[in-house]
């Protein structure tokens, strides 16, 4: 077993893991935050997306030991029920999810996109969600939600 330190959503945590333990399993089971979903375990679906040092990764394709010392941001940190992140609000208002399984990964991916580029073009938006599989919506509402989150961010930034 290897002892690793993680800063998860601003809180320092220390957990013991087998070196083969996947980051997604460590987040869900050792850290205890189950908002990050286990989907395909092949790096395809994106349901397990978390931000590691501000960059989105598929946490099923990262060993927990490799993240020793890293800063993690998971879906639990994105907003609260009373104070949704603009990306969450946009997905809600545009009906951009149905079963919700892909949603935590989708929201964090879009959050990273907007943090990097507050005014992404259509191609950037399509590229950004191309690693997150949604089998409910057909992506139309998702693309509308991302455009709406972009507009909301732009308006909030206006002096």
């Amino acid at each position: 077993m290897n002892r690793i330190r993680l800063n998860v959503n601003g809180e320092d945590r220390e957990v013991e893991v087998d070196p083969r333990r996947l980051l997604v399993h460590a987040v869900r089971e050792e850290v205890g935050l189950t908002g990050t979903h286990v989907g395909c375990l092949t790096g395809d679906c994106g349901a397990c997306t978390v931000l590691v040092d501000d960059r989105s990764v598929k946490s099923c394709s990262v060993l927990a030991v490799s993240a020793d010392g890293a800063r993690l941001r998971t879906i639990e940190d994105l907003g609260t029920e009373d104070d949704l992140d603009p990306v969450q609000r946009a997905f809600l208002e545009e009906f951009a999810f149905q079963c919700g399984y892909c949603l935590p990964g989708m929201l964090l991916t879009v959050r990273e996109l907007l943090d990097r580029d507050p005014d992404p073009g259509e191609e950037d938006i399509v590229q950004a969600v191309s690693g997150n599989l949604c089998r409910c919506t057909g992506y139309g509402p998702i693309l509308r939600a991302v455009r709406s989150a972009v507009r909301a961010t732009r308006e909030a930034d206006r002096p």
């Binding site: 083969r20 790096g43 394709s61 060993l63 950004a128 191309s130 690693g131």
Partner: protein, 296 residues
């Protein structure tokens, strides 16, 4: 967890540490780069490590110029390759790698994590990187306690998931010579967004007027071939027949053949290859044309 003995895990702080960790290593020692391919392979039991050497803390990143070549650290991720592709001519080797990186399947999460050296070392025949490295005439710098050696890309890829890297070696750097390419084109032909490609093709317009083409995903290893310029256009059946013959010969020369798999049978791959090469060549010709007009 598979129940085998827990593998020994090390994450050396530099290349010397990696080389030391690999001394006497056997096939069970697994190098972990970005992890995007080898970690899922471990999850599904395709790879069962007796020892894990994590390259994530060893540096091995960055892009520098060295005697007429661009040298890329093996742990350089796709996002960094994209970010580095600014103010470079259309014939620069990074231009081709950036084109490939932009189309990597799996979204920004994979571009943030997947690495050039990792993709080369894993040698999945359907990945973008092996074909691009062969097109570039890249040399792969392998380090071990016995020293450093360079292997040309064409000799590095021995087959599906098989390379010339020995178990005690680590791919440290990739040397991309600034050759005679004026502009690059790249086409990845896949039938669905999240699918593996059926055939990939990189094409360069060369200073002497000829074309160099590389094929990926077509066989168990990538191949390069020289193709004459299409004087009657890329739709000319005679030119396409030349491409088809050249591709078949290049594969045969390497002891390879078009593969059958769930995506396409060998007959389909052979038939579609001249079409995909034609599209890559058209992209390269457009790039060279823009360059020419920019100068005029």
């Amino acid at each position: 967890m598979t129940g085998e003995d827990t593998p020994r895990y090390t994450a050396p702080a530099d290349l010397d540490g990696v080389v030391a960790a690999l001394e006497g290593a056997d096939e069970g020692t697994v190098l972990v780069g970005g992890g995007t391919m080898v970690v899922p392979a471990m999850t599904h039991g395709h790879v069962v490590p007796s020892a894990l050497v994590d390259l994530g803390r060893a540096g091995l990143t960055g892009i520098r110029e060295e005697d007429g070549a661009t040298v890329v650290g093996a742990m350089t991720d796709y996002a960094s390759l994209l970010a580095a592709d600014t103010d470079r001519g259309p014939g620069h080797p990074l231009r081709l790698l950036a084109r490939a990186a932009a189309g990597i399947t799996g979204g920004p999460q994979i571009r943030n994590r997947g690495t050039l050296g990792g993709s080369a070392s894993y040698a999945n025949p359907a990945s973008d990187v092996p074909g691009c490295l062969v097109a570039l005439g890249a040399r792969l710098r392998l380090a071990s306690a016995r020293g450093v050696r360079e292997v040309p890309a064409q000799e590095f890829f021995l087959g599906a998931f098989r390379t010339a890297r020995r178990p005690d070696e680590v791919l440290a750097e990739l040397v991309l010579p600034h050759g005679d390419a004026l502009a690059w084109g790249y086409v990845k032909f896949k039938l669905a967004e999240s699918s593996w490609p059926v055939v990939t093709s990189a094409a360069a317009v060369l200073a002497g007027g000829g074309l160099r083409v590389a094929l990926g995903a077509a066989a168990d290893r990538p191949v390069a071939l020289d193709v004459p310029a299409p004087h009657r256009g890329t739709a000319d059946p005679a030119w396409r027949a030349l491409v088809a013959d050249g591709a078949a010969r290049a594969l045969a020369d390497r002891g390879a053949a078009f593969v059958d798999d769930v995506l396409a049978d060998a007959h389909y791959r052979a038939a579609v290859t001249p079409v995909i090469v034609a599209r890559a060549v058209e992209g390269a010709l457009r790039g060279a044309d823009r360059q020419e007009r920019g100068r005029a």
